[in-house]
Amino acid sequence: MSRRHIIRAVVTALLAGIVLFGMIAGSSGPRDRVRAITSRLKCPVCQGESVADSPSDVSRQIVAQVQDQVSQGRTDAQIEQYFVDRYGSNELLDPPPSGRNLVLWLVPPLIFAGGVLLVQRKVTSPNRRRLRVGSVVALAACGAVLLVVFRDRSASDPSSAATPPPTTQQATDTTTRDLSTVTNDEMETVISQNPTVVGMRLAIIKRYIADGEIDKALRHSAVAVEMQSTPAEYEQALQLHGWVTFLHGEPASGAKYLRASLALAPDDRDSLWLLAQVELNGLKDPQSSLTVLDRLIGEQMDVGRRTDVLSLLNVARKQLGLAMVDLTTAMADAARSTTTPAVSG
């Protein structure tokens, strides 16, 4: 080999190395779970578009739901199942590879294999061996691609996905995002192993509240308010603990913690809303509740929440003997922020 050949080979290898480096460096990026899931869901009011792509209202609500469920630590499969249970199996844009759907997975490689055989028969080369090797290589490559894809799909599933990054700016509780563990028990184990991590505790408190297991929630919230944490976490811990103590039957204590939380974040609508309920239903103090609600009603919120607030407001006003606010007019005034109609079927 001449020097020229060697230089050329080195240059080629170097260039290939750089490109390969770039490819490998780029192949392990963070994954946006919400987008990944919503792009596998069919927008129910559109045809063929995914929820991620569709601008329709329903799709936005589904995205919000998925966001919620992701931050609750549910797996991709669970979230997909949630929507299949409601919209049916045709809600999935990518039918899972089982049962009759296996056709979709097996027929393409069979077509390809058939084609390779056809080509092999067509060629009348005396050198059959090389041809056969070529065919085997082609089929093996096809199989490898299929395998990678299969693995990719199963890997895109549950908790194996490392730390899903925050998805949109609206997501508030970044603390729970990496908690994709499945059951409460597993979460308990993790917490007992990492007793100083506030985020996990806050997450499990929310789960227990949702499950109605107030005693368990209280055990954690009592710890959470005593822990070292960031101001945001502390504020949330106070808020949750306040609500939990109220649910546990101590409205006075609950109101105290909620006010403490509000002192840290005066605009926290959740705290205001919880406090209003505690004062009205727990402390039987419609006047204070009304003050809180009046503050809350000035804030921006979606129509659902506003309806809740307005009806609580009316209950309080009724107890005080005040005139009721007309719900529809109030909604009409405030809730022009509702969205425009979506697609009709």
Binding site: T12, T124, V149
Partner: protein, 711 residues
Amino acid sequence: MVHVGQAALLVALLGAAVTMTLGWKAARSPASVSTRSLRVAAVVTFLGLLAAVAVLEDALIGNDFSFRYVADHHSSASSLFFTVANLWAGLEGSLLLWSAITGLYVLMISRRWRREDEQDRLAAGALCVASVVAGFFIAVVLFVTPVFASVAHPPKDGFGANALLQDNFLMVIHPPLLYLGYVGLVVPFSFALSALALRERGVGWVLRTQTWTVLAWMFLTAGIIIGGWWSYEVLGWGGYWAWDPVENASFLPWLAGTAFLHSAVAHARRKLLPAWSIGLIITAFLLTLLGTFLARSGVIASVHAFSQSNLGPVLLGFLIVATVISGWLFVTRMREVATAPPLKTIVSREGMFLINNLLLATFALVVLLGTAFPIFVEAVTGSQVTVGRPFFDRMAIPLSLTLIVAMAIGVVTPYREAKPADVWDELRLSVQCGLATGAVGVIFGLRQPYVLFVLVVVGTVVTTAVRQYFRAVQPRLALGESSLTAARNVLTLRPGFWGGQVAHIGVAILALGIATSGNMADRTTLTFTPAQTIHADGFTITYVHPTARRTPTHEVRGALFQVTRGDATRLMEPTLHKYPNQVQELPGPSIWTTSHGDDLYLAIVALDNTSATLRIYRYPFIYLVWIGGLMMAGGGAVGLLLRRLRKRSGGEDGFDDDDEDGDPAVSSAPLADADGEIAIPTPVGADLGLIRAAAVALRGFRTRRGAELRP
């Protein structure tokens, strides 16, 4: 007036029937039919259709709402341009346009019939087949979905076309282009079927239809690309291709047509792959019919699908009849018609064509599988299933990547037989350039596997094309030809090859655009209050104020944003459009193609007095998709143009020289120096040569245009 239209269609139907009969007779014994009568019948068919189109256009322009079609699809508020385009805004009108284009092709075939040969049974048979197709569609617009129906009590004004199809130039030209492409496939199909039916051996049918194939493929490509562009500009979901059943229905014939385009080259030049050629063109045409059935019968729901009608069973019937007849002919006659010399090795140009056919056919079958699977599942189990983007992407990505690699290799592979080592020698410099392109990308911070892969292929394909050109020009320059003459001679010697090169570069650029916009996009959804400023994806976006206005046809609500990046500032106004005949507001995205090469795409999600919710997408280099796509179609045009030029300068008719030595550019070993490197001529002169060649080509085209159309 409705009756005039019906009468015109009836005349066209009669004309088609007569053409069919005469074509049949002429195919059996050419002497028994006079050229004149055959051509008159074809002309009558076409004129009848032309008159029908004219009647409908007249009714549209004259706001004659006693026509049901006009009342349903037109409103007097439409501008003249869109009024004319309303011809294909509805199912019946678009079918009329479809029939008219078929009629045009029937006319073209009839002018090719050479009775003088006494032997031209092939064209007569093709005419018979094509007029059956034309007659079917005429009958459909006449009886099944009558385009000329009257309204008992004409309304004062109509509803207008579907709002999505209004007010966008792209959508106006998309359907006719697509139909020209779809229907254009009828010419090679008719000739292929005729060759089978008449047991005609040889490459005659391929040679005679190559122009039509290229033309149809060109229109189909342009139509699909423009459809995607429209989807991106108008639909507001931020994409251009959704793997929607109707999109697939246009993609399927394209895949089969592209495969046919390639095997036809091997067939015409080397008499190779005749069975593939015939099989592929039949498949392409049947897929066209299948696509029509899918899009228009209501068997599948789709954003693009026309509403349900009793058209479905009729189209299905025709599809089945066409499939049975052509399938039967293919199976029974194939052996007599298609005798091919043996293929010695896969490492050869013909072998690469075979691989291309295999990959494209697999691609088409996979897309067909994904599209038809839900229909089967619903029929068998009654339950519904959706096959969407994830499935198609998963299948399409490996297939497309393999295809473009095969494309890069195939061009430099010589005919007959080659050693892999020789092919590598040919390709090495190109691959090095490709790798260098990729490496530059990496150095500039590119880390996307797919993008880098495609970038390497782009570098390789472009370098290969440029090298091929220099290699071919070099000996001519050495012989003392001016660079202009050399360019002209080189390019016109092999119009098909150079057209193909342009198209291949287009494919590579398109692939790059798909990879960059798909893998490097940023997507955010943000809510703004007036005067609020948010930094997103490198842009500073300030919500100025909401806007509202009224146009003659509809109401527009919008949100004005001031967007800044670096020194550049833009006012962007994404909008929502409310049409009277539409419940839902339609999005009007606002797109800024920045000097960095990326698109900022703003689309409104929700808008009220207090806030605006916006989808903000940033797509790097998405315009490469349109450029690459149109360049593919342009490759077809270049091929046709060069061919015209070649014929003008007294050359032979045809896309490529059929000399036994194969490609002069590839197998011209003496050009290479001892190491297989080529001595590159002075680049300046060569560049000028290219430019001058282009100028010559243009001038040639201009002077030709006035001349008669007939070859």
